[in-house]
């Protein structure tokens, strides 16, 4: 039994030591050494570019990207503020004459019931007319 076990161990050892391996490892050490040295020389040359040039380029891209983004957001903000301001034109921009504005003011002041100006859409001339008709004339 012990002899059989020794045979197994012997076979395993022979296998692990690659004793039966007919193909011996062929590697030209001087060729490999040259390859290693050349490859690392090229890497040394590219070192400053990789470690300094690339991060610098990345920083510049981010910097200009932020500037462009900021400009775009400024433009968007100004467009938005213009569009917010536009629905409330002052009377100065309307086509009404000063005399007509005065008459309108008088009518409104003479009204016994108070009108909820906020619920009325003065942009729509129809609604303005309807609201004016409800005011009893003096």
């Amino acid at each position: 039994m012990k002899k059989v076990d020794m045979d197994y161990d012997h076979e395993i050892d022979r296998f692990i030591k690659c004793e039966n391996n007919s193909a011996s490892f062929q590697l030209d050490e001087s060729k490999l050494a040259s390859e290693i040295l050349i490859k690392n020389k090229t890497k040394t040359f590219t070192f400053p570019f990789i470690y300094f040039g690339l991060p610098l380029a990345a920083c510049l891209v981010i910097f200009f990207g932020l500037i462009i983004q900021r400009n775009e957001s400024d433009v968007n903000l100004s467009i938005e503020s213009e569009s917010v301001q536009s629905p409330a034109p002052s009377f100065a921009e309307t086509d009404l004459l000063p005399r007509e504005i005065e008459i309108l003011d008088e009518w409104l002041l003479a009204s016994p019931e108070s009108i909820d100006f906020f619920s009325v859409d003065f942009d729509s001339s129809y609604e303005l007319l309807v609201s004016l008709e409800t005011i009893p004339l003096p």
Partner: protein
């Protein structure tokens, strides 16, 4: 300072001859270690070349605290672990290498070796490395434990288990 330490210091300074000498002395043991770990000749050859590239890069950081052989095989083992992880991520490549193993074995090796190759491939990496360092490189249990950052009794257990698996596999053949 032994000759390998001098060579590694030389390599760190860019000495071509020191690199050639180190490759000449260590290509055999390193290739055998990779070959028996991966059961694939071509992969072992590639990994051996990668190993010497890595040695060149790491030569500057070598400190003579441990033996050169321990340092070299630590690097070889790390490379092997990386390779096994890559292979695990590529299951199709594994199937291919098994097929390659089969064709290679039918030409060059006996049926017994083919069985041992297949079983060896199935072993956990630490069991395999411990067994290979013990049998191929003839390291002491203490040296293996130092390199694998474990204790001697665990190394002995790993080697015993690896041997048991291989014996079970070849029992019907002998």
């Amino acid at each position: 300072m032994d000759k390998d330490q001098k060579r590694i210091n030389g390599i760190a300074r860019g000495d071509r001859n020191a690199l050639i000498e180190l490759i000449a002395d260590w290509k055999g043991p390193i290739h055998s270690y990779f070959y028996r770990s991966l059961s694939n000749y071509a992969d072992a050859e590639d990994l051996t070349q990668q190993f010497f590239h890595r040695i060149y890069k790491a030569s500057g950081s070598y400190r003579p605290i441990s033996k050169v052989s321990t340092w070299l095989f630590s690097i070889a083992r790390n490379l092997l672990i990386d390779e096994l992880k890559k292979k695990a991520r590529r299951p199709q490549a594994n199937i291919l290498s098994e097929w390659e193993l089969g064709t290679e074995s039918s030409e060059n090796t006996s049926e017994l070796q083919e069985i041992l190759s297949i079983e060896m491939k199935k072993l956990p990496e630490n069991h395999k490395t411990a067994l290979l360092l013990r049998v191929q490189q003839e390291w002491s249990y203490q040296e293996i434990a130092e390199m694998m950052k474990t204790n001697e009794s665990r190394v002995k257990t790993w080697i015993y288990r690896a041997r048991s698996v291989l014996k079970q596999a070849i029992k019907p053949q002998l």
